[in-house]
Each structure stands twice: as structure tokens, then as C-alpha cells.
């Protein structure tokens, strides 16, 4: 058993496991009693999707996926801040 092979299959396995956690987090986004619960779930899903993108970049040996991950992190953060501000003030100004 080669350790490089073991590492490669571990990355694929972990990408699948994190994808399952994304679906588990979607349950909270679906049934969450209040709006901040849903925002929390979406924020957490954004972080997990970012991890999945970097894992896929390692598995497929594509470096520019990391730039996509960076843009995704930025957009997820801006979305969270915007929705939370809207919830707090009732308007975006």
C-alpha cells in the first residue's frame, strides 16, 4: 500500500464526507425557526463549499481552482454581512 495512493483516496473520501455535512447543514437552513439560524447555516455551508473546492483542486491537480475558492470566500462573506445588515436595519443604505 502506497502512501501517495492512500493520501489521494483520503482527499476524495474527505470531499465526499464534507459534502454530506453540507446536506446536514441544509436541514438547519430548512427548518431553522428564526432568520439568523438560516443565515448561520448558509455561512457554514459557504465555508464547507470552500473546503470542497480546495480538495477538488488537489484531486484534479488544477491550480486555478484556488482562485475560484478565494472569490467564493469573498462572495460568501459579503452575502452574510449584507443579509445580516438588512435583518438588523430593515434596509440597506
Amino acid at each position: 500500500m502506497d502512501i501517495a495512493w492512500l493520501l489521494n483516496s483520503s482527499y476524495q473520501l474527505c470531499a465526499i464526507l464534507v459534502m454530506m455535512m453540507v446536506f446536514l447543514s441544509l436541514i438547519r437552513a430548512l427548518i431553522g425557526p428564526t432568520a439568523p439560524d438560516r443565515i448561520t447555516a448558509i455561512n457554514i455551508i459557504g465555508t464547507k463549499i470552500l473546503v470542497i473546492i480546495t480538495l477538488i483542486a488537489r484531486v484534479y491537480e488544477q491550480q486555478y481552482y484556488l482562485d475560484i475558492a478565494m472569490v467564493y470566500a469573498l462572495m460568501s462573506f459579503i452575502t452574510t454581512i449584507g443579509v445580516a445588515k438588512y435583518l438588523e436595519k430593515g434596509a440597506l443604505d
Partner: protein, 109 residues
């Protein structure tokens, strides 16, 4: 000697990877099981920051310098933005009138 070093680095990457997945799972469990918005934020923010950081560290150990710099930049960005987002969400939740769940004391205490 160099072979042993590479072996140790691979082992470190493996341990860090599964540690990160474990912490992500604990955060998801906290998001599903805890009773309140503030409790859920408390559980998920720290667990997700640490878990994503560990997985990115595991990838950075394996890769070349060019990629590792980008991965560390990404981990640093997560480390900055994740607590900030949690703070903003908790502030919005508190200002819109959601009260934290308090512990009921039983009579035996």
C-alpha cells in the same frame, strides 16, 4: 533521510486532514443539536474555522510553494472573516429581539 522526511510529512498531512474533517463534523452536529441561535453560532464558528484551517494546512504541506502561499492566504482570510460574520449575525439576532435560552435550574440544585 529525504524519504523519511517525505513520509513524515505525508503522515502529518493525513492526521491534519482527518482532524479537520472531525472538527467540521462536530460543528455540524452543534448546528443541528443546540437549542438557540447564539449557541449554534458559538459551536459552528470556532469548529469551522479550525476545521477548514486544518484541512488547508494538510493541503499546503503536500503542495509546492506557489500553491501553499495561496492556501495560507485563504486560511488567513477564513480566520479573519468567519468570526466577523458570526459577530454580525449575533448582533443582528440580538437587536431583532431574540432572547438567549436560559438554563432552568432543577429543584435539587
Amino acid at each position: 533521510m529525504a524519504d523519511q522526511l517525505v513520509y513524515i510529512l505525508d503522515l502529518l498531512a493525513l492526521i491534519s486532514l482527518f482532524g479537520g474533517v472531525f472538527f467540521l463534523f462536530v460543528g455540524t452536529l452543534g448546528l443541528l443539536r443546540l437549542p438557540d441561535v447564539f449557541n449554534r453560532l458559538h459551536a459552528t464558528t470556532k469548529c469551522d474555522t479550525l476545521g477548514a484551517g486544518l484541512i488547508l494546512l494538510s493541503l499546503a504541506i503536500q503542495s509546492t510553494v506557489n500553491v501553499a502561499v495561496r492556501l495560507f492566504l485563504l486560511a488567513f482570510f477564513i480566520l479573519i472573516t468567519n468570526p466577523t460574520a458570526a459577530h454580525v449575525i449575533a448582533r443582528a439576532a440580538y437587536k431583532t429581539g431574540i432572547k438567549p435560552v436560559l438554563v432552568k435550574r432543577s429543584k435539587n440544585d
